[in-house]
């Protein structure tokens, strides 16, 4: 019987299809791995209900484990508890910033996230806090579009939910 932790280690290399600098584990999409004899069950959860990356992630998981000789793999889509940006690891937030995406602020109960003015949001390129929201909706379901008023660059903000 394979150790679930070993499987988790194998899966930790799978990148998010839309933000390839962070893995599905760092993003908090990979929720659980269970092993019963030959049968391996993996729980994943979507960031947003309509996230089109889920099918790709499921296929990536199945094909990677097949390569390692594990054939009986079942991927479950679970909805509870609902995904939150609080599950994104600190290390992954730094990777997002370096990639040009402002990471979500820590607490989802921050009132600032409701009015669209997160308190500590800074430009991922120049670090300026002099930023402005362009649109609540960005290039993917999980991001909003901002611009920096100092270096003038537009950037994505990983919105808090």
């Amino acid at each position: 019987m394979v150790d679930p932790l070993e499987i988790k280690r194998i899966l930790s290399v799978i990148p998010d299809p839309e933000i390839p600098v962070i893995s599905i584990e760092e993003l908090g999409i990979l929720r659980d791995v269970r092993v019963e004899g030959e049968q391996i069950t993996i729980d994943i959860t979507p960031t947003y209900s309509g996230c089109p990356a889920m099918k790709v992630i499921e296929q990536d998981i199945v094909s990677l484990l097949h390569e390692k000789g594990m054939d009986k793999v079942k991927v479950n889509l679970i909805y509870s508890p609902a995904w939150t940006t609080d599950w994104i690891t600190e290390g992954a937030k730094e990777k997002l910033r370096k990639y040009g995406i402002a990471p979500p602020e820590k607490s989802t109960v921050d009132k600032g996230t409701l009015t669209g003015k997160p308190k500590n949001l800074s430009c991922p390129r120049c670090g300026s806090k002099h930023v402005e929201m362009v649109s609540q909706f960005g290039s993917t379901a999980c991001k909003a579009l901002y611009k920096c008023l100092d270096c003038k660059e537009p950037f994505d903000y990983f919105k808090c939910i």
């Binding site: 309509g50 909805y79 509870s80 649109s135 909706f137 579009l145």
Partner: protein, 252 residues
């Protein structure tokens, strides 16, 4: 244990409304007033279709007759669709799309708040997820209602006109079936009649702020609970279902 057929129908109503409204919004793709708004409307469409997808998977499971979510979405005709009448109303001008969305987002936020406490675990989980999205959608549509209603003479007139056009379909959202009483009693479904005054208070508050007036004594059209629709739905389904029905075995 609540009646299985009643639960199946209840989930279909939730799913169909999301699917039809999501499809309507997707019609804006490439046509919205400017790029950011195009992305916003299609993002919301994606969330709604995603919610419909999860609900239809659950509906298929509850029904237990081997149908899939795709069978339910693509192989039912308009007299088997239970979406709200509001959701099928055409996009019209931008004001009409925004007012339709605002009325609907307000409904969804209250519905999901309540359903997230449902005794049905799957519905509760999907509602908790949907609530985060609906809250975000409402922020967008509310901002537009305020901006358009209290904007120029042109934007105000168009928004007031949209409200006059759409108000007659709002009572239909709250209509309940006789079976719903059992579902409400079992803690599964939301009592929509109890929810309506809160919804009215919430939308009225913003309309006042936006200088808009709810039409007085407006005739209310009903029918969605009996799957009775306007002809608009047939055209929408024809477009949405065409590909699947032409190539039923096609796989992506």
């Amino acid at each position: 244990m609540a009646n299985k057929a009643a639960l199946f129908n209840y989930i279909l109503r939730l799913a169909d409304t999301n699917l039809v409204l999501g499809h309507r919004l997707s019609e804006w793709s490439g046509h919205a007033p400017y790029l950011e708004e195009d992305i916003a409307l299609t993002n919301i469409a994606l969330d709604l279709i995603g919610q419909a997808n999860s609900l239809l998977i659950y509906a298929a499971k509850v029904e237990g007759k081997g149908r899939t979510e795709d069978d339910l979405a693509y192989m039912r005709n308009e007299r088997e669709y239970y979406n709200s009448l509001l959701s099928e109303q055409p996009n019209g001008d931008f004001a009409q799309t925004i007012v339709r969305q605002f009325l609907s987002d307000n409904f969804d936020v209250l519905l999901y708040e309540s359903l997230s406490k449902s005794t049905d675990e799957t519905l509760a989980a999907l509602a908790a997820k949907g609530l985060k999205e609906a809250t975000y959608h409402l922020r967008h549509s509310r901002a537009w209602v305020e901006r358009l209603g209290d904007g120029t003479e042109e934007s105000h007139n168009r928004t007031q006109n949209a409200l006059n056009q759409l108000w007659r379909f709002t009572a239909d959202m709250f209509a309940m079936n006789p079976d719903d009483k059992d579902l409400v009693k079992a803690g599964i479904a939301t009592d929509l009649e109890k929810m309506q005054p809160t919804w009215l208070k919430n939308v009225e508050q913003i309309f006042v702020k936006a200088n808009l007036t709810i039409p007085a004594n407006a005739w209310q059209q009903s029918g969605s609970r009996e799957a009775k629709h306007s002809e608009l739905l047939g055209f929408l389904l024809a477009e949405m279902q065409h590909l699947h029905r032409t190539y039923p075995e096609a796989k992506w």
